[in-house]
Symmetry: C2
Subunit: 315 residues, 2 copies
């Protein structure tokens, strides 16, 4: 492997040279996010579409019980069941039991070697996030795939999860993996334009994995270092709430996904329309603005630091 | 009352000269439609906002059990519980029992005289319907209020329910009444801009009722006949479904709320993106396109005939 790399004063995510042998595409981790459910159903039927010569692709629906009733979850949020801590407990909910099964198929996290080299978990969100890949901060392959996608699609963004050692999301079971969030899409709804674009993005991701594999297998691969803008989750803001903790306010219209906050701009409004919280700082950027499922989690929007990292891309 | 009326070759909805004494504003008939829930909560707190000199306004939340769990309903859709047939049965579900209580407060439908002269039921929809008032075909007051609103707001539309003798919706309990649909708003979400506009529309509706009352009470009222474009619900189209009746397709992007269908345009797509149904006729117009709650009801979108009616407006 030949490396051409300028010295850059930033984080560099180094490609590990590992050929991707198994990719998992998963829909329906949340049972009311139809975009990913429909995409997974299509790929289960049209098996050729997700096939490539150098790796095996499996497609699955994560939470059939929740899909059947068109709800995010039946007992508890499955996408919070994949931490080592949760997987180490005796599972009591339907989602936790199903998470154990999926962890065996994708990971398992407890093992050094993971069954899946790459896990793509298909979600949708009511926030106006466009197409956002959400990943671990140290996941070099996922970052490189995102950098490759950005050359084709200007509305694709890279988001990084919290800096925690033990993530609880489904794609964290794989060696690499990310959540593909698309929005705005209401819960329970699929939109044809967003759906078609999601399938296109999946095609492009699988093509990029295939191209990297081919390069690595050819013994003539080269590595370039490419800049990638990342939105690094650092905090969140809750809704205004009344004395019974019931949501009693709204997100100010000026708070827009991936638009940096201005000093002093309104963040939250009361039901009477009065501003109840203004923002004093200017160095943070919101995303997941008004995601329906986050009302119960106490998140009106997430706050991110914007950073540039260097990503090794193999070709 | 002085009437100035040109002879028009169309339906004329005559004002009955009845002073409005009681108005009910209701939110949360569907527990995950936060826009109306938030508006009702605000009006319950700011009681002056919905007060006018000539009538009494009551504000209520229709389905607190569904609101508490952020779902459309707990046992069954409450907005299908208000038919005479349903109200005549022994109520077995939580929604049907609550519908009986509400029917006593708003109607009752079984009585000749109704307690409420006007019922405004606040909903939101994932469809891109803008601001649409949904009403009985013979409800002169609601049509007149819609005609008045359209002078102030160009994105307000009048829709008419099916031509059935026994409607099952909450506002059908009142002497007059309509559903105020606003969209697109995802389930479980409130959007500040839509919310503020909803409150403005409510203000304007109450102002229009007050002005009509004042005119009638002054004994110097006049009546003008005004044209109103109405979308008359006549049919609907279901999603493509697989052998197990599971939704297996999408609404074509060309199907847009209140945009007349073109002959031969695609209506529905399969999950592979292929057109599975084209439309041969051109005289119908869709609305409620991709309303999340209608997947279970077998409605991808509603089809309407567009008609012009004459509405008597008192001033």
């Amino acid at each position: 492997m030949r490396r051409s790399m300028a010295a850059l004063a930033k984080t560099v995510l180094k490609d590990d040279g590992h050929v991707v042998r198994r990719v998992a595409i998963v829909g329906g981790t949340h049972g009311n996010e139809r975009n990913g459910i429909f995409a997974a159903r299509h790929l289960l039927k049209d098996t050729k579409r997700a096939s490539r010569s150098t790796f095996e692709t499996t497609v699955d629906l994560a939470n059939p019980a929740a899909i059947a009733v068109n709800r995010r979850y039946v007992d508890e949020d499955m996408n919070r069941c994949f931490s080592r801590e949760m997987l180490g407990r005796k599972a009591t909910s339907r989602e936790a039991r199903r998470a154990e099964v999926l962890d065996q198929a994708l990971g398992p996290k407890a093992a050094e070697e993971r069954r899946m080299d790459l896990v793509i978990d298909l979600h949708n969100t009511t926030s106006d996030c466009g197409y956002a890949l959400m990943m671990r901060r140290d996941d070099a392959l996922s970052h490189a795939l995102c950098a490759t996608l950005q050359k084709q699609y200007e509305d694709v963004r890279c988001c990084e999860w919290d800096d925690k050692p033990d993530h609880a999301t489904l794609p964290s079971c794989g060696r690499s993996g990310f959540t593909l969030e698309v929005g705005p899409v209401p819960q329970g709804v699929a939109d044809a334009v967003t759906y078609q674009k999601t399938l296109e993005l999946i095609d492009s991701i699988l093509d990029a994995v295939e191209a990297r594999n081919q390069a690595l297998l050819s013994q003539k691969s080269s590595v370039t270092l490419e800049p990638l803008e990342v939105y690094r989750r650092v905090d969140h803001v809750d809704f205004p709430r009344d004395d019974d903790h019931v949501v009693a306010g709204l997100i100010a219209p000026e708070v827009i996904d991936f638009k940096p906050l201005e000093p002093g701009q309104p963040l939250l409004l009361g039901l009477d329309g009065e501003c109840v919280k203004t923002h004093g700082e200017s160095d943070l950027t919101p995303f997941f603005v008004n995601e329906a499922a986050y009302y119960e989690k106490g998140v009106a929007f997430v706050l991110a630091e914007v950073a540039e990292v260097g990503v090794e891309v193999v070709s």
